[in-house]
Amino acid sequence: MCPAPPRRIPPSTGVALRRFSLPTAVAATAVAAVLLTGCQADSTAGSPTVPPPPATATTTAAATPDPAATPPSAPSAPSSPRPSAATARSKAASPAADATIAVTIADGKVRPNAEDVKVKQGQTVRVTIRSDVDESIHVHGYDKTAKASPGEPGEVTFTADVKGVFEIETHESAKLAAKLIVS
């Protein structure tokens, strides 16, 4: 079950987002991203060792909010096909995803911890990873991997074109972060 809608956009997110000249559209993306990924955003982003990520609206948004702002209770992910048409324009290099799963690994803990993430067939899914150790995250079945090391987040985006349930799991510690349910 994914996180509750944030009651407000965290200020830090707002700051990060102003770099893009489409604040409204991007804020919508941020809401969507937080909606989809939310509770685990254990902001390593605030740490000075972290270089600015290869900024995309969604990753920044997902990674930045402080945990207090995103209550860890949760409705399921929205299944509307495109959260915002405008997001596609926000950064050409990294097109918007319909669902983002932001995985953080800190002190040996993996967040989210075994969440169900529901998407519809054909939607795009982005998995981002931030870690305080060398780690990679693997999407089973689709065989997608994103690597991260301290200060070097990673991400992978793919289209969920096969129906089924797919485990998204850390490679080194073999912890289940989420199950991607494509229906």
Binding site: V110, N113, A114, E115, D116, Q121, H140, G141, Y142, D143, D161, V162, K163, G164, V165, F166, E167, E169, A174, K175, L176, K179, I181, S183
Partner: protein, 437 residues
Amino acid sequence: MIPLHGLGGRQDLPLPFSVVLIAAAATLIISFLVLWWRWPAARYATVGGVPLPRLTAALDSPALRWLVRAIGLGLAGWALLALLAGPDELINPIFGYVYVWVWVGLVPISLLFGPVWRTLNPFRTVHLVLARLTKIPHDVGAWGRFPAAGGVWPAVVLLVSFVWLELVAPNRTTIAMIMMWIAVYVAVQAVGGLLFGSGWYAAADPFEVYALLMAKLSVWGRGQDRLIVARSPLANLATLNPVPGTVGIVAVLLGSTAFDGFSNSTSWIRWIQAGDKPAVWIATVAMVGMITLVVVSYQVAVYLSCRLTGVDPAGQLGTYIHSLVPIVLGYVTAHYLTLIVFEGQRTLILFSDPINAGWNVLGTAHWQVGMGFFAYTTLIAMLQAGAVVVGHILGVIAAHDRALAIAPPTKAVVGQIPMLAIMIGYTLGGLWLLFAT
């Protein structure tokens, strides 16, 4: 519990609630129909089947036997190459070979072709060749034959270790872990074969014992003069002769599959992963617990059935085990149907290049895994639920027949009620696991 489901890149969507409801209703209605649709005497125990002398001559020809043996040995040898020289990554086909081709594939092979696993079994082939070369009899070892009282207990022990490897063991998709298990397995087979002759494999090879159990649900059997006969699977099932440990085999298969079902649910994994729980220990205890639950419930049902029919329960433990064999088939079909489609293909692709050297020996290296089947989620759900229900129906009929085999018809209907109760329990439990996870 380490959530990495061995291979299992893709899992099935939960069954739709409507499908579960219909399947559950069908289960209950058919159970009671069979209960009232009584027949006067055990009908399957005496069915001979249609003898097929020509087919027997063709299938028993030495050339074909050696061809099948060569296939079994060749596949095993190729897999061994991958194990010993291949990369320690999931692209090594050894994992798919062991966990999918052998473990899952033996079921459809045995259903289609009957007890062919005995001929495919590479240990038997090596054993036979060595015995021929050294001119010693193959069926007697240094210590004679394996005592009948031992039944299939060695296979039960190895089967438990295998399902533990498949479902619980940490790092089960690493070469080190799978190699350790295979080394033990090979050593047990080889040493036992030397000591007890080729009869050992029937007692100690968990894959062969499992495969022969499933072959009892094929249409192929042996009649008089070892002629191959075609008969109804229920008649074939009635020829199953339980030995010490058969109940154990069935219980391990049922219990471990049920365990795999619930241990894959996100709520179970979330609970295990929260905090620093000894995941492997918890999973081990849960799996052993599920197996024990099957053994105990089955024993209670057999005991009650004997009491209700006035039969001495002593020595009757295996009497009703036939009725659980189709339930095992229903469970594993529902559970592994899409796994064998998905990982089976992937293994075929990887099998062209077992040591990751850029080979394309089988010509499959550049194939893509066909995913078309997975679009039919409703069909898959219906096949899964259908397999469980059909397994249940066959089981109930078999139980009815078994009750008649041990008790007079007037008492047999009452006698099968405890068995019916636990079978309904297993079936609804199986459906619930397919729905809830």
